[in-house]
């Protein structure tokens, strides 16, 4: 076998280090000039010399370090952070909370938060049953196959039809756009990616109920409960080949990902033999294709001693195989390494791309001391000062950009909007970010680095134009001229300021307001125009801006 010879000393490290930049930058500029007309267009517009050290990027990361702690209430944690560390967003805890705890703030969200206060609003969000959510409930009726069970799907659709899968994904988009239960929808998204089954996928008649009965059902419950349910669901057993596993020929796919992705992670130090054990324990868990139902097939269960980390069992009987598996899954759910992984996932989603070890450990402690309660961890995130200090450090991913834009534009439910939701869905598909759409078992990446790209920027900007101008019919769009009250005596600057606060929850700097106004070929002091086309340009540029793209 190959020897591992690895040196990280010397020049190799320098290449990685941010400070390697300045000489590169100078020579880049020369090379750029030398290239002449071929790349001149790019050069003129760009000024973004490649090879440029990203000292600014390093700075933002360094600045993001905040020595946070837990407080008794979210509002106390918010008060502990006295100023904004963001160069873009002013200190405004309400606006920060709405940027993070919703896909995008509708005017109603702003009102609700003002009325209930930080603690009251979060409490209500964490008890979604207390929210009527009439609009979302009506809206998802357009997708009767959302979350349907195998029996229904077999009865109502053609064999191998994607209808129920696409309906489930599109209904999720609909909920994200219209539901008032925003934190719940965000947590659903986190765990659908954590215990990921790709939708649409081969699991045409089983994955819809996986989303409903495993992910949505347990999203505010215990992770133990969710994990146990996932490992008995046909969609997961099929997605990761456990239904191929036989006592004589154990398939490692699910046993490995269970350790690596779903629970303890590689850092926990399990061995290849433990991966085999993990797969052996799960053998026998399968399902019936014709009914789409789970069952434990005893003859397929591998028997014999198994050991994974601190779990060991004689596993002597095929008839006890399922129980051994449940005990094993409970052991994994309560493992400290699992606690840290779940804590980190949620911290990344709500706080920052690089949450501190301190925050992760505090949240992991909450997870373990609350019987793996997901809701308790989410609650604890808002009670950390880390959350309130991390202003403006997260970037919207494509779905969060599209759904978020529809929310801040306050689009209304309308008859026949199914096609429009479909248009959004396929656009997001082109951008690589539909609900549950990631191919492999590890779920979508949730940090900015994975979603950066010039092409991706253009797709966002183009989507904003479709949404602001209502290019897709059959949805309750608000024309730009109706977004905020428009009086004939208003100057363009005055209108822009008001509409910016309405859409973004923040008033951009004067410099940025002027940039937007000039981008629409208008002047600040002149009377505001009344045509939707010009006003739409202002609204789109506001969505394009970092005030919306960052959160």
């Amino acid at each position: 076998m190959t020897d591992i010879v690895e040196s990280t000393a010397g020049t190799g490290e320098e290449l990685d280090a941010p400070q390697a930049g300045p000489p590169e930058r100078r020579s880049s500029r020369r090379a750029l000039l030398g290239l002449g007309a071929v790349l001149a267009l790019g050069a003129v517009a760009g000024e973004g010399l490649v090879g440029e050290a990203d000292s600014a990027e390093a700075a933002v990361a360094a600045k993001a370090v905040h020595h946070g702690k837990q407080y008794a209430t979210a509002s106390a944690a918010a008060r502990a952070v006295r100023r904004s560390h963001s160069s873009l967003f002013p200190h405004d805890p309400h606006a920060h909370l709405l940027r993070r705890a919703t896909f995008g703030a509708r005017p109603k969200d702003v009102k609700d938060l003002k009325r209930l206060g930080i603690d009251g609003w979060i409490h209500r969000q964490l008890n979604p049953g207390s929210i009527k959510d009439t609009t979302a409930k009506k809206a998802v009726k357009l997708f009767p196959l959302e979350g349907a069970g195998p029996k229904t799907i077999l009865k109502r659709t053609k064999r191998y039809s994607w209808d129920a899968m696409v309906a489930t994904s599109q209904a999720t988009l609909t909920r994200q756009i219209f539901s008032d239960r925003q934190i719940y929808e965000i947590v659903v998204d986190v765990f659908a990616n954590h215990l990921h089954v790709a939708v649409p996928g081969e699991q045409w008649h089983t994955s819809p109920s996986y989303i409903k009965n495993v992910i949505r059902k347990h999203a505010f419950g215990s992770y133990e409960g969710m994990l146990l349910a996932a490992m008995k669901h046909p969609a997961m057993l099929n997605f990761l080949s456990n239904d191929q596993s036989r006592a004589k020929n154990v398939n490692e796919n699910l046993g490995r990902e269970l350790l690596e992705l779903h629970t303890v992670g590689r850092a926990s130090g399990y061995t290849e033999a433990m991966v085999r054990s993990s797969a052996k324990i799960l053998s026998g868990r399968t399902w019936d294709y014709d009914t789409g139902q789970y069952y434990f097939n005893e003859p397929w269960h591998w028997t014999g001693h198994v050991k994974v980390l601190g779990f060991s069992h004689s596993n002597a009987s095929i008839y006890k195989g399922e129980q051994v598996g449940d005990a094993y899954l409970k052991y994994l759910a309560h493992h400290p390494a699992t606690a840290r992984n779940i804590a980190r996932k949620l911290a990344i989603r709500f706080v920052s791309d690089t949450p501190s070890a301190s925050l992760v450990n505090r949240l992991a402690h909450v997870y373990l001391s609350h019987g793996t309660s997901i809701k308790a961890v989410v609650d604890a995130i808002f009670k950390s000062s880390d959350f309130w200090a991390a202003v403006g450090v997260r970037m919207r991913r494509p779905l969060e950009d599209g759904v978020g834009a529809m929310r801040v534009l306050n689009v209304k439910r309308a008859k026949g909007m199914k096609d429009t939701i479909g248009s959004l869905y396929w656009t997001l598909n082109n951008q690589g970010h539909t609900p549950y759409g990631w191919g492999p078992p590890d779920g979508y990446p949730d940090v900015a680095a994975a979603w950066l790209g010039a092409g991706a920027m253009l797709q966002r900007w183009n989507l904003h134009r479709a949404l602001v101008y209502g290019w897709w019919p059959k949805l309750g769009w608000t024309k730009p001229s109706k977004m905020v009250a428009l009086t004939p005596t208003m100057t363009t600057m005055q209108w822009t300021r008001v509409v910016a606060h309405r859409l973004l929850g923040v008033t951009p700097s004067k410099k940025h307001l002027l940039a937007v106004i000039h981008g629409a070929k208008l002047t600040a002091a002149s009377p505001v125009p009344t045509d939707d086309w010009r006003l739409g340009k202002i609204a789109t540029l506001l969505l394009d801006s970092p005030y919306f793209q960052l959160r």
Partner: protein, 460 residues
Amino acid sequence: MQTNTIPSNDVLSTLHPDCPDWQRLGPTPRDAAIRAMAEAQRVQEDERSEAWSGGFNRRTFLKGGLGVGVATLGAQLVTSRVSYAAADERSTGTLVVVFLRGGMDGLSLLVPANDPQLLKERPNIGVRAGSLLEFDTARGFGLHPALAPLAPLIKQGRVAAVPAVSTPDLSRSHFQAQDCLERGSSGSLTTGWLDRVLVASGPGTTFRSVAIGGTTPRSLVGSAAPIAMQSVDSIKLSVDKTEVKATTTALQALYTGLDHPIAKQTKLAIGALGTVARITAAAAPADDAVTYPGGNFSDALKNLAMLIKGGAGVRVACIDVGGWDTHTGMGTVDNGDMKRHLGDLASALAAFAADLGSDLLDDTTIVTMSEFGRRVEENASGGTDHGHGGAVLVIGGGVQGGVHGRWDGLAHRTSLGDVPGSNDYRDVLSEVVSKRLNLSAGKLKHVFPGWKAKPVGIVA
């Protein structure tokens, strides 16, 4: 109400179930700064091991066939992420890295035809000697017959292969093996090996690196900042021509001075608009175009050819092809997943070579790689499980046709029953990069720090 243009994208375009590509997040320079703190570094390591995706499951590939019919299988098979890194000089050649995600079975591609072990352990899926595409008889290897579209290139001596290639990573995790391969290290380097190639090859321009299809491939993570695009066509802004300048000026002003990586992407996006407009305008008329077989991989290569022919100075391009995690149903030379996958791969590569033409192909080197090979013994599902040593194809000008590197026969195994890593990826890649991209030994040591490359003999 006046609306200026209709959205250009056909919103009802084909679903790519294997898309979005499953390239994983990676550390940016921003992460590198964080790494300075030991604690954060540990966190990041956890994160990375959790994160680096591999598992292109055959299932996700199959669903295309089930859902929309076999005819469109080619389109479903491939993840279409392509990344371009344009160099400062055209004359140094282009490296095209085709990453076969999921763990491509080297023994199906590059077949040790005379090895008696092969059919003993693969009675159902082993490729029989009689059906092989002639390749290097002297060394006892043939190619899977589905690679027949490459036959003309083989005759010209433009196809080389290496068996039993691996990284130092011995895990059978897609995530870890890809991470190790794309970083070019199992150690603590955070940048990708192709990023280091670009850095070592000297400074570039605004348009130095572009990625098609979504996120940045791990091998290009670092300071070279590849630009992502779905295709060359997708680089346009849906506003009236008369509004483009005012809009881009505004966007630039909004992001100037912002301390977040998104600011740089805005600059690059605006720069790319201009460059792509030029290349598209100069592209050859359709009537003398080569016919590509279709599908995402094919489309990606077609776009790449357009950029190379347009003189964009592409130095490094990465393309991902998913669907190689063949735990089940690999099939035979007449039917099944391997035949389809390899056939799609070969026909697209052949079209690409024809499109470039002989002169440009002389300056171009295509390397296929995968995170690991698969186990020798077939499993009960007519597939193979994760293994170790795999096969590499190198196509282009300057290569020495035939099989290179060490091969000890199938009797020679790792303790887990895998083909060993008799040849190291870093040797293969070092040779290609030094000879085809003209990287000096001094610069090469930055690409694989601490690695003393041994000659393999692929490139003359």
